[in-house]
Amino acid sequence: MWFKNSQHLNDTTLTQAYLESRNGNPWSQSTTDHLITCEDCAKKYARLTTLVHAIKLAEEPDLLARITSERLSRQRQRIMHRIGIMVGSELPASILRFPAFFTQTTTSRFNNHRWLAASMVAAGLFLGVIGGQLFDLAQISNLGSIPFVQDTTKNILILEPDQASQTNNTYDQIDIMTFSEIEIALEASSETELYTLDIMTPRVYEIAINAQ
């Protein structure tokens, strides 16, 4: 069983033989006979046993001395403590414990509906945006209903005075009209159109007088 060839035992056979002997099992008669008679195989077998002994030496000599009874009892206490926590007979080690009235502030009712606050905020934002959009649209539509009159001398549109007082956003519309007037003036080649703007511009000497 152990032979691959009739000459020598191969490494596989030798290792198997070593393991068998370690496990307390007897070798086959042929293996025993061969190891007694063949010097080379006996040497190889000796090398193998030396290797395993060397492996044993790899263990630190004081390894087992490090497992003291004190250490084991401490370890056992910790194991039993952890089991105790799990079983419920012991409390987990806590560094800080809050007073009862603080711990009660976090209600489970709120925790169960944590999504509610977020969704309310989202809904509020949505409504705000939609409301803003509608307000803008309303302003644009109001603008279309403002009555204008044609100023034939200047060839521009101006707001009818009576109607202007009735509009809700009169000042806005006056602004719009003024700026349109300025824009028209800028586009025109005549400088006389810019007098209005010039009158509105404060002069240095005016400011100086006021300062005094």
């Binding site: 044993k56 790899a58 000599p61 004081d62 056992r76 194991i79 799990m86 007979s89």
Partner: protein, 211 residues
């Protein structure tokens, strides 16, 4: 390590273990956890040394060993109701211990990929292997022996997990093939194959490094 259950040929389990495990199981089933815990303490005391020894061979660092041993007994207590009678308690416990150690090693190696090695004040890289306290050898012999041990340990650690476990159990724990097969949940033939491959590999590596 697989969770297969095999090896009905495990050497006779101590009666004390069998009866204690059965009692704890029944207590846990009945919900008498406190009494089960008290009973379990006896089992812990009985097997703690062996489990610590195995963990120490894997982990070297004492803090890690303590945690691995604690985890092992805690896991065993939690899963005791699912423990099968045909696997001896100690074999099952060693299997849990080895898995805990391997998990810890893997987690540590994952962490070390992202962390700088700790350098002590003398500028040497810190290792987890604690220095033995006493020695009877002279300093030169001690140094040589230490070097040889380190090299051998490095080589052994290069072996695949299963081969390492088999080698550790057979060489250091003097466990038989039957015991190892029960612990690892594989057949005895598989254990022999692992033993054989481990020794062959070590032989090859040692030859290559001209020892």
């Amino acid at each position: 390590m697989s969770g297969q259950t095999s090896a009905s040929s495990f050497p006779v389990e101590p009666d004390s273990d069998v009866s204690a495990v059965a009692e704890i199981k029944s207590l846990l089933v009945r919900g008498a956890k406190e009494r089960a815990k008290e009973q379990y303490e006896g089992l812990v005391a009985r097997h703690q040394h062996r489990i610590s020894r195995i963990a120490l061979r894997y982990l070297k660092n004492e803090a890690d060993v303590d945690e691995a041993v604690q985890d092992t007994f805690l896991k065993a207590f939690i899963h005791l109701p699912s423990h099968e009678k045909k696997v001896p308690f100690i074999a099952w416990l060693i299997r849990i211990a080895i898995n805990s150690c391997l998990d810890r090693i893997k987690a540590k190696s994952r962490r070390s990929r992202w962390m700088m090695p700790l350098i002590d004040l003398s500028g040497n890289e810190r290792t987890d292997i604690a220095e033995p306290v006493t020695r009877n050898q002279n300093p030169e012999e001690e140094l040589l022996a230490k070097e040889q041990r380190t090299r051998l340990n490095t080589i052994i650690r290069r072996l695949p997990e299963r081969q390492q476990a088999v080698l550790m159990l057979s060489v250091f724990e003097s466990a038989t093939t039957q015991e190892i097969s029960a612990i690892m949940g594989v057949s005895e033939a598989t254990v022999r194959v692992h033993q054989f491959r481990a020794i062959r590999r070590l032989q090859k590596w040692i030859r290559r490094e001209h020892w």
